[in-house]
Amino acid sequence: MTVTAVRKDPQRITLTVEAEFDARVDRVWQLWADPRQLERWWGPPAYPATFTKHELAPGSRVEYHMTAPSGDQPHGYWDILEVEPPRRILLRDACSNADGTPNPESTIRVEIKEVAPGRTRMSIETVFPSTAAMEQALANGTDVGLSQAVSQIEAILAEETIHR
């Protein structure tokens, strides 16, 4: 089991995931610092990400796009707020609409630390400004697609209403 803890706070719309890897801190850092490695995990194989601009420095903008099975290429970017190699990144993830306007974003805090020799813990905290922003992030980041996610939510809400 790599994921060691998951915390969900619906009131703050925050998700924290902790995972441990059998690798050194520097190796785990490369997952974020090397764009070619990022491309191998940010998107699922059927919906891969391509990073076209990547520099982890405060004030820098990292740019990427996803490639959907349909050929659609939604664009996203990270505004890097804080970086402390090889253990900390604070970034704002956003996606741009077709007309170039930004969409509501999430703030992602990554912390990497050694828990034992050769064992490294990564904690990723994602904070969303609203549920709408979260739906958007899911639509762009998964192959599930927004319509499917929304229909699931509607089914659940309908159920809740009946039970009340």
Partner: protein, 98 residues
């Protein structure tokens, strides 16, 4: 939040339930309001706080989906690390002591 679900209370009454200042409670209420999880409504002289239960349910559901997304990402990270793990990664070197 729990109190807002069970009863409609004003910000002032809400503040009375918590060991924090009125200003602190007001700040929490403002954050929840911005996130769309609660609404404030003026009834007479009181400001009543109402939970947006639907939004809360949606938030919880979306967080579940987002958890799935990150779990899949971490699986891929792990596979990537396993793939490149050679003597450099498995053998302790003096580099790890810094």
């Amino acid at each position: 939040m729990r109190r807002a679900i069970s009863a409609e209370e004003g910000v002032l009454e809400l503040a009375g339930h918590y060991p924090m200042s009125f200003a602190a409670v007001q700040k929490h209420v403002a954050v929840l309001e911005r996130a769309g999880l609660i609404t404030k409504e003026r009834i007479g002289r009181r400001k009543v706080v109402r939970t947006n239960l639907k939004a809360l349910l949606v938030a919880r559901r979306l967080l579940d989906q987002y958890e799935g997304l990150w779990r899949a990402r971490i699986d891929r990270m792990n596979a990537l690390i396993a793939e490149t793990a050679g003597p450099v990664d498995t053998v302790r070197t003096k580099e790890s002591k810094r």
